[in-house]
């Protein structure tokens, strides 16, 4: 059974094993300096800025104190208190935004999962036109996010957008329903992101399906399993690992998605769609309250540590089974 190129993570784990093997018979000098530029760059452009971001979150830093930010007044946890209690110009505190972000990332992942699995199942068998269908499925996913947002902005325009025209046509909603303002904006964001990102689950599931041995299906056939039993007893259990990884990555990606809500709603966004990255952006670069933005960013990072830790753990587990 060949490993599909898609299985990048497990491939990398074999790397680790083989490097140790080759080390024993390595010849010649070790040109370690090849590694230094990238390590140095990562430290300078990511490591140090991360520490500075944490430092900023304890400062009262605005456009006036920016020039000499090191001497900006130290305010302790005040920014964190403000972030969690007070709202910004549009009335969403970091806590509200956190709720929006968690809801958005979990709901979107929940919606794209069954769509992605179903889509993968439609192209798992050979038939004429399958290559075309596979390409078609990828199109929404590969369209740049800012274009997706522009497109859905048109779709959701009140009164003239396709969504309102359709809903009014089937007498479900008023033609002048607002999607880019007010409570519906949350759903507009979820729908647009679901449209754009289900193919991620599809790609991951398809990769997983291709690694399932043909024998398993045949054994199920011989045992007289029907389609549903095949899906729930043969396919899904074997996809457990890759699907878990896909759900985790999808949640992470949606949580950090800035472009879609930013282009879809503009700034300031409606409070119901004021996701955390957007709130940080508005606080920092439009209200110039860098300290508050920093505090919210640190809060986001702490929350991201949970799925991030799970992700690294999942990969480490794969490594242990591989060796």
């Amino acid at each position: 059974m060949s490993i599909q190129p898609v299985e990048t993570a497990p491939e990398a784990t074999t790397t680790i094993v083989s490097a140790e093997r080759v080390e024993a018979r390595a010849i010649g000098s070790r040109p370690m300096w090849l590694l230094w530029p990238s390590v140095l760059l990562l430290v300078v452009i990511i490591g140090i800025p991360l520490l500075i971001a944490i430092y900023i979150s304890f400062l009262n830093l605005d456009q006036y104190t920016l020039k000499s930010w090191i001497q900006a007044p130290w305010v302790g946890l005040a920014n964190y208190v403000t972030a969690l209690t007070a709202g910004n110009v549009i009335g969403a505190s970091a806590l509200t935004s956190l709720g929006v972000s968690v809801g958005f990332s979990l709901l979107t992942t929940l919606f794209i999962t069954p769509i992605g699995i179903l889509a993968a199942l439609t192209v798992n068998t050979q038939y004429r036109g399958r290559t075309f269908v596979r390409s078609l499925y990828l199109v929404p996913y590969v369209i740049p996010t800012f274009v997706t947002a522009l497109v859905w902005r048109q779709m959701f325009l009140n009164g003239t957008g396709l969504v309102d025209r359709f809903l009014a046509g089937i007498h479900v909603a008023n033609i002048n329903t607002y999607w880019l303002l007010g409570p519906n904006s949350f759903w507009a964001m979820v729908i647009a992101d679901t449209w754009a990102s289900w193919a991620f689950i599809y790609i991951m599931v398809l990769a997983g399906l291709q690694s399932i041995s043909h024998d398993h299906y045949e054994a199920a056939d011989i045992d007289g399993a029907n389609s549903w039993q095949k899906l729930t007893r043969v396919v899904l259990p074997q996809l457990r690992h890759i699907l878990g990884l896909a759900l985790l990555l999808s949640t992470l990606y949606h949580f950090n998605n800035f472009t879609l809500p930013f282009v879809l709603f503009g700034t300031p966004p409606p409070a119901q769609a004021d996701v955390l990255p957007l709130n940080i952006y508005v606080s920092s670069f439009q209200l110039f309250n860098f300290g508050l933005g920093g505090a919210m960013a640190v809060i986001t990072l702490i929350i991201m540590l949970i799925p991030g830790f799970m992700y690294i753990r999942a990969l480490r587990l794969g490594e242990m089974t591989a060796s």
């Binding site: 990048t8 990398a12 790397t15 680790i16 490097a19 140790e20 080390e23 390595a26 010849i27 010649g28 370690m32 090849l34 530029p37 390590v39 990562l42 452009i45 990511i46 800025p49 971001a53 889509a119 199942l121 439609t122 068998t125 078609l136 499925y137 990828l138 929404p140 996913y141 369209i143 740049p144 996010t145 800012f146 274009v147 522009l150 497109v151 048109q154 396709l162 449209w195 991620f200 790609i203 043909h214 299906y217 389609s227 899906l231 992470l252 990606y253 950090n256 800035f258 472009t259 930013f262 282009v263 503009g266 940080i280 860098f290 933005g293 920093g294 960013a297 990072l301 799925p307 991030g308």
Partner: protein
């Protein structure tokens, strides 16, 4: 038996066809709507009829002067191009060392590459902006709004991702070939340049395309760090879009035309390299 039953088949053909058609329709509706709007005269958008009275292909000509699309395209090419080339060159070196040698800190380095993907980009933009802004105030040097400032920030996502891709790609290249070269007296560097790089070329292309596309698609960094002369296509369109709310006649037709023009090259690129790019798509869930 009328038909060979495929054991891998889970969805019965009728169900499969219904699902495929439903998905295809859902995929195509917003795309078709965009294409339709892009050839609708601006005066007719929002009218009673969905279909325009005539096809306004002129939208595709006018938009170049309405927004300075040519400048945006050039800027996106320059910035994303530099960022992707720099990251791939550095990533090949780093990937080679990581896959060929055992050294202290190798595993933490690999894990930090993955861990970096969870860091919200806005969290890096904030301190980088503060650094750039305070440095330029202190040294009277222009940094914010220049190409290097944006290229550097693009490296924050392009470099870890390209390194991760190169690590998995170089790891799949067997050691035997370069060992043969080493036995013949080649130095490590010669082996890397003459043996590994030619073999790794497909992987490098994938990393390059991805790094390029993530730069092409960025709105966050570019919206803060570019000036009118360095504004990328994505930011130009975002600004153009939000300017349509004001009053007068919204130029939605031209806006959608510009959206089509910025999406089509990306979609074509993906379709051409589909087979190779899918592996990268799933590596870390970073999308282009």
């Amino acid at each position: 038996m009328s038909r060979h039953r495929n054991a891998q088949e889970i969805l019965p053909p009728p169900v499969r066809i219904v699902v495929t058609v439903a998905l295809a329709v859902l995929v195509l509706i917003p795309i078709a709507y965009t294409l339709l709007l892009s050839v609708t005269p601006d005066t007719e958008i929002g009218g009673a009829n969905l279909l325009p009275s005539h096809w306004a292909f002129s939208n595709y000509l006018q938009m170049w002067s309405t927004v300075n699309l040519a400048l945006g395209l050039t800027n996106s090419l320059i910035i994303a191009g530099f960022a992707s080339v720099i990251s791939v060159v550095l990533a090949v070196g780093a990937g080679y060392i990581i896959t060929r040698f055992k050294f202290r800190g190798r595993r933490p380095y690999l894990y930090s590459l993955i861990g970096l993907q969870t860091v919200p980009q806005v969290m890096l933009l904030l301190p980088l902006f503060v650094l750039f802004a305070s440095t330029q105030a202190a040294l009277h040097l222009r940094i914010v709004g220049t190409y290097p400032a944006v290229v550097i920030t693009y490296l924050t996502f392009a470099l870890p991702f390209a390194t991760w891709l190169m690590v998995s790609y170089l790891g799949s290249i067997p050691m035997d070939l370069e060992e043969a070269a080493l036995c013949d007296g080649a130095t490590r560097l010669q082996a890397l340049w003459r043996v590994i790089v030619p073999l790794a070329l497909p992987g490098m292309v994938v990393a390059l395309v991805f790094a390029f596309l993530t730069g092409w698609n960025d709105v966050l960094f570019a919206s803060v760090l570019t000036s009118p002369e360095t504004r990328t296509l994505a930011v130009q369109l975002q600004a153009f879009s939000s300017a349509q709310e004001g009053g007068a006649l919204p130029l939605y037709g031209q806006l959608m035309g510009a959206a089509v023009v910025s999406a089509v090259p990306v979609v074509i690129l993906y379709m051409v390299f589909q087979r190779y790019l899918i592996g990268g798509l799933t590596a870390g869930g970073v999308k282009g």
